[in-house]
Amino acid sequence: MEISRILQYWADIKPDSLAMVEDEHEITFAQLNSNSRRIANLLQINSFKSGDLVCTMLPSIIDWQVTIALQMLGITSFSKPLGTELPADLMPDWIISTEVIPNFPEDQTIVADDNFAKAVNQTREIESTPGFASQESPARYFYTSGTSGAPKYLLASAGRLKEKGKGRSASELAGSREFLSLMKFGSSQGYRAAVRALMESRPVFFTNGVDFRLPKMLLKYPIQTISGSPIQISSLLDILDQTETKIPGVKAIVMSGSRPSKVQIDRIRKFGNIKVFNVYGSTELGFVSVHEIKERVEAPGVLSPNVKLEIVDIEGKSLPRDQVGIVRYKKIDSRSGYVNDAKATAEFFKDGFFYPGDLGFLDSKGGLTITGRSNEVINLGGVKINPSEIEDPILAVEGVIDCAAFGAQDPNGVNRLLVAVVKRDTTDLESIDKQTREIFKKIAVSYFFEVKEIPRNENGKIVRAQLPKLIPEITKAKIND
């Protein structure tokens, strides 16, 4: 099923229904179809051709139209947020962006400005849409940064890209019809949300940034579920608080990418009877497990029926129930690796499984609990701890907004436990230290220090490699003392 055929069908059957909403902009199926066909024609006139690689840096609402146009022409594409670096080994032939990109040839750049919009309007709709030459043709790249911070790319062939519409997206787990994804269209989840909405002839809701427009959007449309990373949901809660917006229509919030904190759950509860779901998965293989957060943030996740997940030891041997080990999983049509990155592929894809780098266990009922990340274990002189064991109690302290625990060596080679804290002015580090000391008992946090923001990737996962750089001079001096 080509996207262009599906789009044409809905444009015929229900032309005036909303196809996409981004903040105050909306377009119908008829418009989406017509625009995409005009853009495709315009790009073809501009000598875009099958086999080219195109990078788009656009607001979601334009990005979706351009991406459909590119697929109509059988052109490989990927989206990047404006201002991010281009991948050195995936240099595009063209960039379509809202502005000229420094150090990229201007004659290979299409600036999507008012003139472009005018040109699109004056162009006729493309008549034939050849699409990709075969199911194996490279169709779209998705990127994932993981927590190492080094971006990796996944290639979706034309055949696999169609499959994106199958399976379920995180937002559908809550069971409602209309949902808003705070993920950008360019992300794997964002793309899936758009494709599924198109297939089901629902409008896909996007936002170009969590700001004052968002509360208006939530009140105007019957959005019942909001999905995003915990960090995006936090920004949403901030803006709702600031604008004193009530959201009685919202029935569920689905968080993915990382685990929300207790504080955040309590904040959501203030908005009424909203169900909160936490999804565990990866850009590489999608949705793996989900649980509804009730009294406790932590609860065993219900495994997707389409996933085969195992807990193994370091040699790949299956571990018994309730024993913590290395998480690995696969789906029927699992991917086999990253683009141009044999090292990362070898590290994360082994024996037909994907190894996300997480630790966890399965309970007697088959529920999955993730306990931490294998490469993030802090070794304090033989005592191994997961950062979350430290972070969770600290996050529960009144006035703490965010925090990250990590180890750093002192001049004697002894690993010290440090915690970077984002806090409100109403509390101080000493008080946090005092309140948590009781809980940690054997493990002593050597130093707390304050930061403005914890470095997190697009999914809300802490980018731990960047933490040592944040240590203030005064703390460094103390460690070296």
Partner: protein, 472 residues
Amino acid sequence: MISEQLKFWSELRPSQVAFVDGKREITFAELDSHSRKIATVLQQRGVKSGDLVCTVLPAYLDWPTCLAIYMLGAVSMAILSSDIPDDEMKADWLITSRSNPTIDSTRTIEVDQQFAELVNTAPELLEPVEFIDQSKIVRINSTSGTSGKKKFIGFNTKQLLEIVEAPFSGDFIGNSKFISTMGFGASQSYNGALRELVRGQTYFTFTGNDSSWVPMISKYDIDILYGSPSKISALVDSAITSGAKIGEGFIFLLGGSTPTKNLVKKIQTNFACKVFNGYGSTETGFIAYSELDESDDGGLYVHPYGTIEIVNENDEALQAGEIGILRTKNARMAEFYINDEVATSKFFRDGFFYPGDMGYLDPKGKFFLTGRANEVLNLGGVKISLEQVDDLASTEPGVQDAAAFGLDDESGIPKLAIALVVDHEFNEESFLTSMKLKFPRAKIEKIFRLNAIPRNANGKILRQDLNQNVIN
């Protein structure tokens, strides 16, 4: 695979309603538990993997029973009405809520009070059989077509997956909520219920004849009522009689046969609703749709899930605009008739299904149905489409329903006859005059007034029956 999907939703959203049959609601947790208990009871009765199990049950009992049969690795089969399976499709078991004297009682499992009590106290089946071989048939449906001869089609796990994984497959309107008025034995019902199950959504069915489907619309926020024209017509009548109000924008989706203009008009004048026509078959599911509004030109939009081709008698593709034989294919259609090689070779060729319809595609790919391949009446060289006569006659004053057919005269020469269901407005003379103007190609030689036009379960006219009835 199906049992795992059910378990997933029953753990994640146990109290969400999974299945609604009129006033009865079943949650995901109940459906999971109930199906597993039924499976245990059936297992105790001797139902085992590979058995063919026929069910004749109301929808709310049929669905958990079908799931239980699946869990045991057995094959479930639906039969329309209370016919017992034909000899060539001998079922190992019949599960029914009505005693059926024509089947061996040792193989009949009666769903009565005693059975219900057994189920309630039974433990849940813990380890459902998994279908490793995806090409093994797990579900059989019957289809009679208009030839009247019953044929059977099977679906394997791979095809069922295709049906449920495709975000749209049966319904044309994507994510909309619909009430199906088809009996649960229809293949659309099983497939539709399965699809909603996998998506964690509710399946709605209404098999009654009164107006109590109307309150379901607001209670569950329903967008579509779906069924055969005759069924929908009856339900619309009951709603009109009871004075029920239906919100603007609500959709009536008619499938199985082309709705008469009178029915469409009746819906549009009484309710500010939309009427859609779906075209397809039990073998392929719906393949094309159109909205019957003022812009309707008789064409149907082909569903992107599959393809339609128009070919000549040598299976050569025809140009846009040329009338020919329709053939169609999609990933989840049936591929053969079970135990019926003759029918299989006639209707399934080169990966296509040939439903026996004629039509053409316009340059934009819109499909126009012109009639059935076997519904062309040859009047001494003048070929006429009986369906076209039906359509024209249906719009005449006083005509409720119409069916044209060929009737041989004393010398064996076919003549055009028509069966009509009429009301007091009808005037035979003006009818014939008007038809002569509208359809000059052939003269209607005889009119038969009937109480009802004989139609199959999907609402298709059984012209053969018509012919025989008239003769008798």
